[in-house]
């Protein structure tokens, strides 16, 4: 087994090395983190199901089975109108376009210089923001333990660096349009973002993962989001990929005092998806909200691992993940709450609720609480059930067909999460997506 995982790791690395051709790569070798990641990588292997954090999600096996890492996807090109078609209808936003993991400036619509938002590649960013980048790039993800973070850090060709200045309220959301296009061959994409949100600043971020083409796709994405004092960040991750999409994504959040971070993750399709959402509440009175919705069918496998680390007093976290599993799909939820010794007066709430619509669908759910402080309030709960037969009968008795009634109930179940979406155009798009999914 060890040899097999090592082989797959080496195959991935060689694929990525072959992709790296630009000068940006050599500029980034200056970053210490890259060296550390390279060293860590020599010791790390891809996970098997023996790894506690990967018990239910055999990503290595899936990659080995589905990918030919000797193949490169070739050059893909998009016209501005093709990109427009992938945008969120009606939404005025800045669009940051990634093609197979690489930021494409010409297809993006970026804020102007006046707008207190810097969007550059990481290597460009080093010129003016070296201190900030060195302080945060790969400093919050665990490159010593997490092999995917190590791969990303060691070999990422270039990252996007977004800095929002202090004291601004950014009116338009920033949409990261992450396109995997495997039309000409399987793809390995490593999008990577470092987002710094200045103090007293308010910003909305949307990551939209889009899958094009019929060959297998592997995405290893990392977003590191630094939330300074008093900042408010509203973050969305929308995943509607394909049956042959394999996705390991980490959202790593570092919050300072009095900050607010809200995350909403919606997953409607994919082959195997692993989302890591790690939030560190590293200041007093920091608040984190974590919402997730996974609506799965076919053989889709979606694993949400979340960690909220309360490091300072008076912080608050509230988490609600909901899932509907149909067909032979499988959901995994693992929610960790850490309350450090310093973090007195912490309030932490967690809930995971699931509905299984078929005999062959399954869910593995596991809450984990580790509390070192003594004056805290923490609750967690997980439920798994079938559809409410009484409600179903009620709807049927009004003339609504059983399937339509089921869809209505599931849309209602999902709506608790959908309602959290504060951007109305995005909410509309998600509602439409869910409607189509549940009514077919």
């Amino acid at each position: 087994m060890a040899i097999e995982t090592t082989d797959t790791k080496e195959a991935i690395l060689s694929n990525i090395k072959n992709q790296n051709t630009t000068k940006a790569n050599s500029d980034l070798t200056l970053l210490e983190a890259r060296q550390e990641a390279l060293q860590a990588l020599a010791k790390l292997d891809l996970p098997t199901t023996k790894h506690e954090e990967w018990k239910y999600t055999d990503i290595t096996k899936a990659l080995k089975k589905n990918f030919d890492f000797n193949v490169q996807p070739g050059v893909i090109q998009y016209s501005p109108s093709q990109i427009d078609a992938l945008k969120i209808p009606g939404l005025e936003a800045y669009y940051l376009v990634f093609l197979n993991g690489k930021f494409d400036k010409s297809l993006s619509s970026l804020p102007s210089d006046k707008e207190n938002i810097t969007v550059t590649t990481l290597s460009e960013g080093l010129k003016n923001n070296e201190k900030l980048i060195k302080e945060h790039f790969a400093k919050h993800v665990d490159i010593q333990q997490d092999v995917f973070a190590a791969i990303s850090t060691a070999f990422v060709e270039d990252s996007l660096f977004v800095k929002v200045a202090d004291n601004v309220s950014v009116e338009k959301p920033l949409v990261f349009l992450l396109i995997s296009d495997s039309t000409h061959g399987n793809t390995v994409s490593q999008p990577r973002n470092l987002v710094y949100v200045g103090s007293n600043t308010e910003v909305r971020l949307i990551e939209n993962y889009i899958s094009v083409g019929d060959n297998p796709q592997f995405t290893n994405s990392i977003s590191e989001i630094i939330v300074a004092e008093n900042a408010v960040v509203d973050y969305y991750k929308i995943q509607n990929e394909k049956e042959h999409s394999f996705h390991v994504g980490t959202t790593q959040v570092h919050q300072s005092k009095n900050s607010n971070f809200s995350s909403t993750t919606i997953t409607t399709n994919g082959g195997m998806v692993r989302n890591n959402l790690n939030i560190k509440l590293d200041g007093e009175n920091a608040n984190a909200f974590m919402h997730g919705l996974y609506l799965l069918n076919g053989k889709t496998h979606v694993d949400n691992h979340t960690t909220v680390d309360h490091a300072k007093p008076h912080s608050y976290s509230n988490e609600l993940y909901k899932g509907v599993m149909n067909g032979k799909s499988r959901g995994v939820f693992n929610g960790k709450i850490y309350v450090r010794q310093d973090a007195q007066k912490t309030n932490a709430f967690q809930s995971n609720r699931n509905v299984l619509l078929s005999e062959d669908a399954s869910i593995n759910t596991k809450p984990q609480l580790e509390i070192w402080a003594d004056d805290v309030k923490c609750t967690h709960g997980a439920t798994t059930g079938q559809i409410d037969e009484e409600a179903l009968f009620y709807l049927q008795s009004r003339g609504i067909q059983k399937d339509a009634a089921k869809a209505l109930l599931m849309i209602a179940f999902a709506s608790e999460i959908v309602q959290v979406i504060k951007i109305k155009e995005l909410k509309k798009q998600v509602e439409h997506l869910i409607g189509e999914l549940l009514h077919n």
Partner: protein, 251 residues
């Protein structure tokens, strides 16, 4: 309109209905009374098509169709409506949204075009007056956090929207104060026509002061043991159910 013959039904192997016979003609109001556990709500559920009941014998014919072969939604489309004793709370589905789906599903079954948003709202406004129900209530999640009276009014409002041929009101009076009872009854009375019929299931005579039945039947231990006119209900009010139980035991 409705012809029930020797209907027997069980749940989890226990026989609840032990041979019901009942005929309801268009324009009629029938009250089915009886002590707790006599099978009143079971009869209502069986008519609406609740699946956990097993029909072991007998027939239900509705407008010439064998009702027992139809799914709950097909029965609704044929014109059967059950006002629930305990209306289900469905978070996340607004009454408006749900009713629009229901009305249009029923219209589709009748070969009619679906109502557009404007037509639907016009119909809703008209029917809302019948039970004095507020628009804001209908924009909320279906029955969620509704008071008992609001839930029952919502049932009658749905009935008005769906315009059934046979309405079965299962203990609609339970949990209602006198004002709510008056509003609900008034709604039911206004919906009464020559070509539709109503079955009132109730424990108390009180409801029958407001909705006057043509026939009253007493259900006891899964059988109709006595039938009569509205005077029978008054007699029950006065004497309770014990004399019926005795009569039933003797016969």
């Amino acid at each position: 309109m409705l012809r029930i013959k020797n209907l027997k039904a069980s749940v989890e192997g226990k026989e609840i209905l032990k041979g019901i016979n009942l005929e309801v003609k268009p324009g009629e109001v029938h009250a089915i009374m009886g002590p707790n556990g006599s099978g009143k709500s079971t009869l209502a559920s069986v008519l609406a098509g609740r699946e956990e009941y097993e029909i072991t014998d007998g027939q239900i014919e509705f407008l010439g169709i064998n009702l027992l072969e139809l799914s709950p939604e097909e029965r609704a489309r044929e014109g059967v409506f059950l006002a629930f004793q305990y209306p289900v709370e469905i978070p996340g589905v607004t009454t408006t949204n749900f009713l629009k789906t229901a009305v249009n599903e029923i219209r589709k079954a009748k070969g009619l075009d679906p109502l557009d948003a404007v037509q639907f709202l016009t119909l809703m406004k008209e029917k809302m007056k019948l039970v004095n129900i507020d628009q804001s209530l209908l924009s909320r999640s279906l029955n969620e956090g509704f008071s008992g009276g609001e839930k029952k009014r919502n049932e009658i409002f749905q009935m008005a929207m769906l315009d059934p041929k046979l309405a079965i009101l299962d203990e609609t009076d339970s949990g209602l104060d006198i004002d709510a009872l008056r509003i609900v009854s008034n709604g039911v009375n206004q919906l009464k026509r020559k070509d539709n019929a109503t079955i009132l299931i109730t424990h108390y005579q009180r409801l029958l002061d407001y909705i006057v039945p043509d026939y009253v039947h007493v259900l006891y231990k899964g059988k109709i043991v006595k039938s009569g006119t509205k005077e029978l209900a008054l007699e029950l009010e006065e004497k309770g159910y014990d004399w019926i139980k005795e009569e039933a035991t003797v016969s």
